[in-house]
């Protein structure tokens, strides 16, 4: 019966020691066994011990944790990097996985573990998640749908006060780029450091309710259900360990593992974690910074379109001004011609029948006064031009006749 049990074997390396543990997975939870410790010099015994456990429990998963500082969260998968999916649109990636010849079937990032631990507590408010693993702080700002920012802080060699200050600076740095403070802070602590917790609480001036779990228990929990590790384990390193350790048979494996894992070897080249040599804000590595720059390029088409639109708008305004001016000049010329035509008609009407004294001529009305000799021809020709105009005759003392004509308003 014993060999039918599903067992999770967990291990990780901290400084010069390997820590090994296994747990029997049951429906009511896992039952961990005693933690075993091996020095670096006992690596072969350590590996042999894993093989022994595997032989004893054929249905197994060998689970470990990437404590690499060089981890980055991006919003898309990159083909040449090993990665694990978090959320629908975030991927944690790293350059390389230093498991060497040590068997592993599931390999997790602290970011994935943080997400798994707190995903049910997320909402649309910004939450700061902090994971303390092997004296490194894995920090990410998240809402229920995505990771907005993530980075890691090395804390080795720093006092608790300095670590707390760095976390605080990280929060301020994030505020500078997003103008948001986290509404909630969740902290998962795998290291036993009560003093650091106390200082962090004081420094951040907020209530943190930390979850304290050992790395082994965290990993047993991650391996307990397929739904927990379905996509969140770091892919692409499985091929060789699987051959070596002969874990679950193929059908059982397919029941536990996602079917589309890549078996390519990838190399990461990306991220550098902060370490204690880096000070203050420089310690903050903006993991998504390059992504943001790339995203800025999405603005290029819009800027291009706006520039072209602006260019044509300026050209169009100029040409419209020119058209208005040209139209104006054409209208003026037409008006001048009409005005001169009216004047010519008046002078032509008077001809030799009359002599001008004064006149006011516009395109709309005419007012003329003068001396007339041929009254009827003048009256007729003026009336022909301006129907129903007012034609008045006035005899003068010198036996001459004055006329005046006014067009109807």
């Amino acid at each position: 019966m014993q060999n039918q049990q599903y067992v999770t074997i967990t291990h990780y390396k901290e400084r010069e020691f390997y820590f090994l543990n296994y747990a029997i997975q049951t429906k009511d939870g896992f039952i961990p066994k005693e933690i075993e410790q091996f020095h670096e010099s006992e690596k072969n015994q350590f590996i042999d011990r894993i093989y022994t456990l595997q032989s004893k429990y054929p249905k197994n998963q060998i689970i470990s944790l990437s404590l690499s500082e060089n981890q980055i969260v991006k919003d898309r998968e990159e083909a040449n990097q090993v990665c694990a999916k978090i959320f629908n649109s975030n991927y944690v990636m790293q350059e390389k996985i230093d498991v060497g010849t040590i068997p592993v079937t599931l390999y997790f990032s602290p970011f994935s573990i943080l997400y798994e631990e707190y995903k049910h507590k997320l909402n649309d408010k910004l939450t700061l998640m902090i994971g303390l693993f092997d004296r490194k702080l894995y920090i990410m700002f998240v809402t229920e749908d995505k990771i907005h920012q993530s980075w890691t802080l090395g804390t080795r060699g720093l006092t608790e006060k300095q670590v707390a200050e760095r976390v605080n600076k990280s929060m301020k740095a994030y505020y500078k780029i997003s103008y948001k403070f986290a509404d909630n802070i969740k902290m998962l602590v795998a290291d036993d450091s009560p003093k650091l917790l106390k200082v962090l609480r004081e420094e951040l001036s907020v209530n943190i309710l930390p979850t304290q779990k050992t790395i082994h228990n965290i990993l047993h929990n991650m391996g307990s259900e397929q739904s927990k590790f379905n996509s969140s384990y770091i892919k692409t390193f499985l091929s060789s360990p699987l051959k070596d350790v002969s874990p679950l048979d193929q059908s059982e494996l397919s029941a536990l593992l996602p079917s589309n894992e890549s078996k390519e070897n990838h190399s990461l080249n990306d991220i550098r974690l902060n370490n204690s040599k880096i000070d203050g804000n420089n310690a903050l590595i903006n993991n998504s910074f390059l992504d943001k720059i790339k995203r800025l390029f999405a603005v290029v088409p819009l800027l291009l379109v706006l520039s072209i639109g602006g260019y044509f708008t300026v050209l169009n305004n100029n040409i419209e001004e020119k058209i208005i001016f040209a139209d104006k000049r054409l209208n003026i010329q037409e008006n001048n011609i009409n005005l001169v035509t009216k004047s010519e008609e008046i002078f032509s009407s008077m001809g030799k029948s009359a002599e001008l004294k004064n006149a006011t001529i516009s395109t709309k009305s005419v007012k003329v006064k003068g001396i007339v000799w041929g009254i009827e021809p003048l009256r007729n020709s003026l009336n022909k031009l301006y129907n129903e105009g007012e034609f008045i005759i006035k005899p003068l003392e010198n036996f001459m006749t004055e006329f005046s004509f006014k067009s109807k308003p």
Binding site: D75, A326, R329
Partner: protein
């Protein structure tokens, strides 16, 4: 391909869409309007050139100044007075012999072709013996 599209962030997709919308809602209509206006402007220029050639005048109107106008007009008429009424508005008095009325009419017809001015739509004639004085108001463009 679909995977690549899926990997594009929502903000990027929104920006691309916005670019396309702006292109079709604003840029294309403005560009089309511009080219349409170019045609209208060329038609106007052609009309103006036809008018200039009709009067055999160079299509190069001068900026109006009182002195320049007076100097030019006195080559044709015996007496010319130009008085400033307002900014850009002038009263012009020209004295001509009665028999030279045709010259005056031709002069007025071409006035706005020679200078960038507008005649204020009224001509006032006053006759004394054998001369006629014509008063007109012009406005600079």
């Amino acid at each position: 391909m679909i995977k690549k599209i899926k990997n594009i962030s929502l903000i990027s997709i929104a920006l691309y869409l916005l670019a396309v919308i702006v292109l079709f809602i604003w840029v294309v209509p403005v560009a089309m309007n511009y080219y349409s206006n170019i045609n209208s402007y060329e038609k106007n220029i052609k009309k103006m050139k036809t008018i200039y050639s009709e009067y055999n005048i160079e299509s190069n109107p001068k900026i109006f100044t009182a002195n320049l106008f007076k100097k030019d007009a006195e080559l044709i008429f015996s007496k010319v007075d130009v008085t400033s009424i307002d900014q850009d508005k002038y009263s012009i008095n020209i004295e001509i012999k009665k028999e030279d009325i045709e010259s005056l009419h031709t002069f007025i017809k071409t006035l706005s072709l020679r200078y960038l001015i507008k005649i204020d739509n009224t001509l006032e004639f006053t006759a004394h013996d054998k001369v006629i004085t014509i008063k007109l108001i012009i406005v600079k463009l």
